[in-house]
């Protein structure tokens, strides 16, 4: 069976169920790299220019891991999901950067997703992608439809049940792992964690950020736990039409949770993230206006978690005291 490699990085956290469904319906096996580990981290780091942001470096690490384990590498180019909103340049340059930095990479499948060009164009792109595996047009069409359904179901499942993509993906892959992220009655603080899925859910990058918060007695709310419509609505209210495709997930989520009166809001971003440098400032600004405690965590290649833990503890202490005083 033909094997297609899917790096467990960047868009994986948002789109994997759809991709997996598509490839399986096409009779192709989707091979995913393991969660980020030290080897992947080091390899990815060594190839890219120092200034590149951490998630993109990790992406190369995952590609290197998969290079000899698959026949094709799936690196879609996400340009735009409609409107006048775009993804960051690095998402658009991914396949070409991979080619330059990971010469051992198998042939790259790089469908360019740009919904500003209309659904017809998207269908054409999907057909071009599907033709690598089958000449049966009907089969490609069915696979694409199933993939879309799977993607929407995945998104809805997360917001309905208030779970993270990692939990949803674990269930999807029938993993035995018992997740402990359930809603515990003893938790007293609700903390919204805002950031890109590939930062918030990559435990190696963020030093098990979410489980640490939960251990400290916080109920964590992430953008995926709210319905997409709510996020879009909150974003529109604050900034109007988006400039970036993921603006609803950052600004929208921030605004949504501020409106829901969470006890505190934490933004997580990697150092050097262009879009976040602007968007997080908006969230910070709004948090100040709403008088809700705000903490920004900037992550980079440093592997020590001491500083992070101290800051989280101090923040939660402050939130707790504030809650007691205000109550």
């Amino acid at each position: 069976m033909i094997k297609v490699g899917i790096p467990r990085a960047l868009l994986y956290y948002q789109y994997y169920p759809g991709w997996k469904t598509f490839f399986e319906a096409m009779g192709v096996e989707a091979v995913v790299s393991p969660p980020t580990n030290k080897a992947i981290f080091t390899k990815g780091n060594s190839r890219a220019v120092a200034e590149t942001c951490l998630p993109v470096k990790l992406f190369f690490g995952h590609v290197i891991f998969l290079a000899d384990k698959c026949d094709y590498m799936f690196i879609p180019v996400m340009r735009s999901l409609g409107g006048k909103a775009y993804h960051c340049s690095k998402f658009v340059g991914l396949p070409d950067m991979t080619k330059a930095l990971v010469p051992e990479c198998p042939p790259i499948l790089d469908p360019e997703i740009d919904l500003t060009e209309g659904r017809h164009r998207l269908r054409h792109i999907i057909h071009t992608l599907g033709r690598h595996f089958s000449s049966d047009k009907g089969k490609i069409e069915t696979a694409a439809e199933e993939a879309e359904k799977a993607h929407l179901a995945f998104r809805k499942d997360m917001s309905d049940r208030g779970i993270t993509p990692v939990q949803a993906l674990d269930e999807l892959c029938q993993s035995e792992k018992e997740s402990d992220l359930g809603l515990d009655a003893a938790t007293i603080l609700s903390i919204a964690v805002i950031g890109h899925p590939y930062v918030v859910y990559d435990d190696y990058v963020n030093h098990r950020f979410i489980s640490r918060l939960q251990d400290m007695g916080a109920k964590v709310l992430t953008p995926e736990m709210a319905a997409q419509e709510d996020l879009d609505f909150a974003m529109k209210k604050l900034v109007g039409n988006p400039h970036w495709s993921f603006e609803a997930d950052i600004i929208g989520a921030g605004e949504h949770y501020l409106g829901a009166e969470v006890d505190g809001i934490i933004t997580v971003a990697v150092f050097g993230c262009g879009p976040d440098s602007m968007m997080i400032d908006m969230v910070r600004h709004r948090a100040r206006e709403c008088k809700i405690p705000f903490l920004h965590i900037s992550l980079d290649e440093h592997t020590s978690d001491g500083g992070l833990v101290t800051r989280l503890e101090a923040f939660l202490d402050m939130v707790k005291r504030r809650k007691r005083v205000c109550a």
């Binding site: 200034e51 006048k84 340049s89 658009v92 340059g93 070409d96 330059a100 050097g272 440098s277 908006m282």
Partner: protein, 363 residues
């Protein structure tokens, strides 16, 4: 209305020319003081810490314009992949928080540029009649072209002049004369005269300058404060600088010829194709292409300028080392931490390398 603008290289001279021709009809143009350390400090102080240098510099300019009483601020806006599209959203909030009562007027620099510029001029000049707007516009464009034409000559002459600094001196006088010119004819005449003077500067007969191309992100490439006058520093070291980008070129193609289907970057994009297949926003695609094109043309090296954390240029930076067409590239990242001596040391080492490389190849 008191209209404030940010600085970008010598772009302000164009705006000044417009105001001079149109009178403004009660509106006043406020050109903030030339970008200085204070401008940068202001920008850095009030910007998000990881914002890029052009954001910080233009914010500093706009704050300084507000201090002088500007209430209407002009800024570029683009629907592209890069951060530029977010500048206005961010800066508007910062300026409001600082307590200035100013509103932004945006200039769309990615689509409908010509229409957008024309309407902007008309609105800001209190509805001056169209013929007047158009003639003022072309007068301003004339100045822009004259300045860039002068730049090209200066780039060549700095490398070979006998008495170091002579070219710069004439160049400064020329800029002053052009900015003071009152009519199209005067602009043309002044330009011609100064170009003649420049070409008569005594040359060092033994000079054999290395040729370096400057490319990268357009704001830092064209703004001498942002890139610490790198063109002049290269000139001092006896390097002939070639720069494809210029404001007049952007205006000429972006405003007119692109609409006729002429793409000034066609050759560059085609050259980049084997390495980068698509536009990544900003000037990333062009940077990769320029390296390939100039390597083919036999240039000795390339200086690649980018603001720190510029997304499109990071893509270019990652791809450039793998091109088959090989010339040395020095990437200089511009941000508020940059200091002139650091830049000069790196440029000197780079130029030494180029000279050595040329000598070895010559043998």
């Amino acid at each position: 209305m008191r209209i404030g603008i940010p600085h970008w290289g010598h772009a302000y001279l164009t705006v000044e020319a417009l105001a001079q021709k149109l009178g403004g009809g009660g509106n006043e143009l406020i050109i903030p003081p030339p970008t200085s350390q204070r401008t940068l400090d202001l920008g850095v102080k009030y910007s998000p810490v990881e914002a890029c240098l052009p954001f910080k510099l233009t914010l500093g300019n706009l704050i300084e314009a507000c201090e002088l009483g500007a209430d209407t601020l002009i800024h570029g806006r683009g629907a592209g992949i890069c951060r530029l599209g977010y500048y206005v959203k961010g800066q508007e909030q910062i300026i409001r928080d600082l307590g200035y009562d100013a509103h932004f007027v945006t200039l769309d620099v990615s689509q409908h540029k010509f229409r957008s510029i024309m309407h902007l001029i008309k609105d800001l000049s209190n509805n001056a009649p169209w013929p007047k707007v158009i003639s003022a516009f072309f007068f301003a464009m004339g100045k822009l072209f004259a300045l860039d034409k002068m730049d090209k000559v200066v780039h060549k002459m700095r490398a070979v002049e006998l008495e170091k600094g002579r070219t710069n001196q004439i160049h400064r006088e020329a800029i002053k004369a052009i900015s003071e010119a009152k009519t199209d004819r005067e602009v043309k005449k002044t330009t011609g005269e100064y170009i003649k003077t420049l070409s008569q500067v005594p040359k060092d007969p033994t000079a054999d300058p290395v040729k370096v191309n400057i490319a990268g992100e357009i704001f830092v490439v064209l703004d001498p404060f942002a890139n610490m006058d790198i063109e002049m520093e290269l000139g001092k070291l006896g390097v002939e600088v070639e720069r494809t980008m210029s404001l007049s070129r952007w205006a000429k193609y972006g405003l007119f010829l692109n609409h006729l289907g002429i793409n000034e970057w066609k050759e560059v994009h085609e050259a980049a194709m084997p390495y980068l297949k698509r536009n990544v926003g900003g000037d990333g695609w062009e940077s990769v292409g320029e390296k390939v094109v100039h390597a083919r043309e036999g240039y000795d090296g390339m200086v690649h300028l980018a603001p720190f954390t510029c997304m499109p240029e990071i893509v270019a930076q990652n791809i450039m080392p793998s091109t088959k067409e090989d010339i040395p590239v020095l990437t200089i990242l511009c941000d508020e931490q940059m200091a002139r001596p650091g830049m000069i040391t790196r440029v000197e080492a780079f130029v030494d390398l180029l000279k050595f490389r040329r000598k070895r190849r010559g043998k």
